[in-house]
Symmetry: D3
Subunit: 243 residues, 6 copies
């Protein structure tokens, strides 16, 4: 892996999801020299912009612009590259053109891991759809007969980041990422989301709770200190040389 820059892909249904749910992972890997690409499928313009809609004279275009600006700022702080695909939300719809565009991203980026939403979420159908797109594009990008001549990809692990109500989504974390050393960065990115201040506190507490649990899983006796963590559900087995 030596001199080649490692890369990762984040597929975010709405423009703020990558901040709340994977901001620590983005910042942490960027800090380690990785290139992290973020695809925001929509701006969350219909379903996750309540505060903006309460302003008088608000239009879809203005909501999108405001949301894009916030998300761009957050991505800049985290150090990730962000693309906005503007495919619509509530309901989100994906066709093969969008799928193949994502396949191209995979083949160009050759990511070492992929982050997206939980496979199930009864409160939000855009989220599982984004994950399904991430998974189906991965499988297609592995197929030698899809756009033959392009470089196919390997089998990067796909992780589901944390949904809002984990237990209702059958989401079980099997991996905790220690984000203590990038927490300040994540918090600054979070604070770009001007219209959702109540969520700043909510996701700060999520990071604290996962920090305590991560600590619990290495043992209270361990000297290592973890204050903030992000939980992930890895969907496929890992291959290791040491248990």
């Amino acid at each position: 892996m030596s001199d080649i820059q490692q890369t990762a892909l984040v597929v975010s249904a709405h423009s703020a999801d990558f901040v709340w749910r994977a901001g620590g992972a983005i910042a942490k890997h960027v800090k380690q020299g990785w290139r992290v690409k973020i695809v925001c499928l929509s701006f969350g313009e219909r379903g996750e912009s309540a505060k903006l809609w309460k302003q008088q004279g608000m239009t879809l275009g203005r909501v999108k612009a405001a949301r894009q600006e916030e998300a761009q700022q957050a991505a800049d702080i985290l150090g990730g590259e962000v693309e906005f695909w503007d495919i619509g939300d509530y309901p989100m719809r994906v066709n093969d053109e969008i799928l193949f565009r994502m396949v191209d991203i995979y083949r160009e980026l050759q990511p070492s891991f992929v982050l997206s939403h939980s496979v199930k979420d009864p409160y939000n159908f855009d989220h599982p759809l984004a994950m399904h797109l991430a998974q189906e594009a991965l499988v297609t990008a592995q197929a030698m007969g899809h756009n033959p001549g392009q470089k196919i990809i390997g089998a990067p692990p796909v992780y589901a980041f944390e949904p809002h109500q984990t237990e209702q989504c059958e989401w079980i974390p099997n991996t905790f990422l220690d984000i203590t050393d990038v927490w300040e960065t994540k918090r600054r990115a979070i604070e770009c989301m001007a219209g959702q201040e109540h969520l700043w506190h909510y996701y700060t507490r999520v990071a604290q709770q996962r920090g305590v649990q991560a600590k619990r899983n290495i043992g209270i006796a361990s000297k290592r200190d973890i204050e903030y963590a992000e939980g992930y559900m890895r969907l496929a087995p890992s291959v290791v040389d040491t248990l």
Copy 2:
């Protein structure tokens, strides 16, 4: 972790289980300089020694002796330290004296990981009981008020090694250990089990199948070659710095 020798614990219900199911892990970590301790709770004298019992004039004592000799040879080849507790099989029963003896092992050994059977096995009740003992002893060894003054342990991950009929046991591998480089050693250990030659072939095929699957999970495109692997089900989340 530097100069201190890493250690691991294997809790095996019957005397051959550690060979079929974790022989690769034992050999691999020993090769990396680890100390690996194996506790055989029983010899499998009643339930897994059919061939011996078919010999005329066979007695329980002779079955146990023969099984112990085979298992000791296998452990020697793998490089693990083995203890035989002779608590009986089919049915296996565990009391608090046995539990506390296992707790002592944990505290003395301070293992970095623990291997035992699947949590469920409708074909064999000794197996889940061995795992339960491994888990309950770990929890007790973490309790500061149990034999206060002794050094408590951290939170080593517990892995369930592969049962015979995985799908019936709700056993889902989330970790593949590449054992290609120690396969010959494992195979030699397997061949110590004189009375179960049909299982030599069965578990060789298991290792091959898991090797193909491990390869699949790093991607066919990967240059790394894996011929033999062991599957493990890690029961608690891992804590990482890179996804």
Copy 3:
């Protein structure tokens, strides 16, 4: 909640489903002064009208008309308002136009709860699709940016009513509605389904079995008598002030 009439929504894949599966709930809430709206997505004209199709010279149009008439009668007896959307069955297909029509219903009705089919049913793919429509429309109706200016809805609980083979559908009742006091009404509604007399008896027995189970769950010692009940699987947590 005082003076405002409470409302509920029932989404029925085929025209008789709401009778067998939710007739008691409809009658019971109507009796309590509620307005209950029923949307029949199809007439069950292809897949659930066997007896009609056995008549000579039967046409799709005549089947639909007969089924609509029965369902209208049943709805009248139960006291519910029924709409027939005629989107076809076996297979049922839903597009965004239908979705948005359902969203409009939610926003106009502002239901306090929603009833539809089980999330899974390997014997019938129209049923889970109807539930999915009910759920996706609810989520869309909550999105402030969908048709801004309309009144959005809260978070009414969605309940899955009882499928035919519960255990094959992963349907687990967590709520029993006592329908003893409206049973006669439900039975009269059931008897409108002229072509499915065998189901009259089947669903009468279902109501009796659920009645016995409801009684079991309040305790045999309880003075309250329950003879007939309907089982429901509530899909999201309830919020309470007393346990």
Copy 4:
């Protein structure tokens, strides 16, 4: 239900569990006039008293006394009656004498609901054992032939309160209790646990997160405000007259 005082039972494995996990429910029902009885099976003296054990010259007796004092203070603040059974922890063991003692509690108390631990907890085997005791005692207390002549009980619902790592315990909340109005009381009870100050913050955050989720489940549009909540997993169906 008129003039008879309602009652509830809380079965707590260790002496602080009822505070972190059910303190709000206790305070809330006491405030509504209920009698709430708490059984602490152990003091958590071995496994949950690390800070005490770090003091020099500490003995099991002194740990127990300190833990009892804290728990008694917390129970007094919450308004619950507490009994300490001192059956030992890490590992906890239950025999029929203890079971029948719990059956007597059920029959005397005639509780309207019961709270205990999650049915599964791979980090702590005392917790599921306490729940199992609560369930088996309930079933026995319903049996007319157990101590005939005593008054048998009905079928009070059993709820599992929140474990430490919910997703690893297959614990899924289906009921949120709004504890906003008794939060200050619960917090004061929490602060009795002098040796576990880090948990004060942890469980305060738990209450805040569940508060946000409870609010989410009644709908953001609702006028009702919820700041703090406790999550519960009800294990058996409820019987209702309105959905």
Copy 5:
């Protein structure tokens, strides 16, 4: 299999369970020439004899005698051989002596299949215990080193018969036994249970519902008529020559 009489084993926690849950299977196989042995572990004297306990001056001895008489009559009608082990109920407890007694039954009987309770039942802990005994005894009876010299058994399939609230018990029927031709016999056996007349009707309806479902699973178009059936959950795979 020719001339040797086929045999089956039914392990019933309480004395009436075999009638409600497996009476059809017993009668049907007896009619086909099988020997069916029933072991009633208890009389259900404490937990399932409410009506008897309401009589004045009732004693445990009299309850047991009455229950035994009913069960013996029912077994006679069905054609099964019944043994009463009187090990107590609510709570039921099993030790190794009881286990080995059951192992002896297996080895003597050499059953072609085994019927017992569901593996899980949150309403009744005696039921899963009876099934566990049936399973552990089977595994022990297969162990050549248990009482060497005795004839070991093969691997007869174990089926869980229908519990009271199937969905709460994670019981999913994968096998329907058509009992239409022995229904009258089962009904007569049911009517021996003088004190539980309400259950006569309940289990008659169960048989009718399962009959309808069995018919559904062979296809409405099938000419075969099924009026009554029993549902079973087979716990291990079957081995076949035709799918």
Copy 6:
């Protein structure tokens, strides 16, 4: 069933799937006089033809032709009739025209059982789609109002054949088909797949492992010998006269 030839249907996503996964079932039933129809939805031209794509100047057309030829040879050896629908792979897409074409197959063939892929497969989305098509077509073929006048079908059982990584696919075999007597035929069919020689060995080992497990499920003591087997997951209950 007498004189009428029994029939079966196999729905294969890619042109080699039916060979690896169901070749034994096809050969075995053909040997028993059955007519077995295989529908290959695609040739696996994009996703499962890596070796062909590595040849210079390869085109989609040439890949398809090569794959068809291999599959045709394999089908001929097994004795099945094969149709190639060429609907594309990676990603596979199904519309109503394809659904109705499959319905026509069902109604013409009147199969006694149906084989297709696992319901879930996170490594391959074509596979579950093929199964969904098989299931939805079956349900539609049962609907009297679909193309009234045609002969509807009964309720043939649907079996999921073995996916590549069973545990990741929630695939649990409940039926083992003994294919020892047709193994040589299956192996010859396998060898038609010139470009996937590594899979010859993989699926030979699969057959051997399932053979050992099938043997384990009838009992080691059984005289019947099984060397090769195929595992199937039957999705709906069976209806029987003997357990």
